[in-house]
Symmetry: C2
Subunit: 191 residues, 2 copies
């Protein structure tokens, strides 16, 4: 049985290697550069090996997305933990979120821009995704205001951040307004 276990361990190691390499390649040269051939070459295995771990490229993107969700949740929690005032906490949250999107564009794309074959806002939504949303809600529900569903408020605030993140990265918003956008968003949306 020990042999079998060792093999399973090796499998797991290689699976992590694939995901890490895909992510690395995507961060360096964008997701377009992440082809199955290039990815296989980097992990020093042949192409079909990828398909013994993942159904296809989509699933690899999905795996990166799940990693990203975990890290995003961590980043948000770390940033908000230091603040006590609810308003300051939301500002920190917004900054942390946008910072994450800017620092890890490929991961952010895997999460929200590309098709990673993941379910959202449903029962079978993977735990990391639910948890990332929960991390947002923890700080945001405090400033939702009376009579406003925390989930609804979180959705709206998150959507706003997402819009700012994507449009910023696409060069569709004026760079010099970056800080003012965060202030305006927090000032107006948070109660």
């Amino acid at each position: 049985m020990s042999v079998h276990e060792r093999k399973q361990r090796e499998q797991a190691v290689r699976e992590r290697l694939i995901v890490a390499t895909a992510r690395e390649l995507a961060e360096q040269q964008g997701w377009d550069a992440v082809t199955t051939r290039r990815l296989a070459e980097r992990i020093e295995y042949s192409q079909p090996v990828l398909y013994s771990h993942f159904r296809g490229k989509r699933e690899i993107i999905g795996a990166v997305a799940l990693q990203g969700a975990t890290e995003l949740a961590e980043a948000v929690r770390a940033a908000t933990a230091a603040e006590t005032d609810p308003r300051a906490r939301v500002t920190a949250l917004a900054r942390a979120y946008l910072d994450f999107a800017a620092r890890h564009p490929a991961v952010y794309d895997a999460l929200f821009q590309l098709d990673g074959g993941l379910a959202y806002a449903q029962e079978d939504t993977p735990a990391p995704l639910k948890d990332a949303f929960a991390a947002l809600m923890e700080s945001l529900s405090e400033v939702a205001g009376d009579g406003v569903d925390p989930g609804l408020f979180t959705e709206v605030f998150w959507a706003s951040l997402h819009g700012v993140a994507t449009l910023t990265r696409a060069g569709r918003l004026l760079p010099e307004y970056a800080e003012l956008r965060v202030r305006l968003l927090v000032d107006r949306l948070a109660v």
Copy 2:
């Protein structure tokens, strides 16, 4: 000279045909289905003909995007023209915007999700794009609030709408909150 003019006219007609067909195909089966081969077949010409009109697929997407920008501006202006109260106008704007994104997902993708090779927030930004932004600003600057730059406010409001639009279409927001999201967004952001 008349012959030359006729040829130019025919060229223009075919160019419009290409754009219209690309858009139609994208609306029907998504942009993934818009391949140069399929597109060529639908317009009943060979593939290389496309490249005598456009540098490549990107430019075709860009052409659809420009069409979309014009229509989006129209839709927004039509919706807001009927309202007199600034707040009601902004609500109408938000609804019209999200409605446009929902009704013409392929066009919306061409505009904001795909790479159409267009410049944004710059001097060489095509007129339709500038005008679409202007259409938003016309109604939004009224509710920006004192001391808030109308351009900044428009960017933020627009980004929020964009976030809601994209996340909604990706199935990442709860459908039953759709109407409440618009209300919350307008209530909080508009002064």
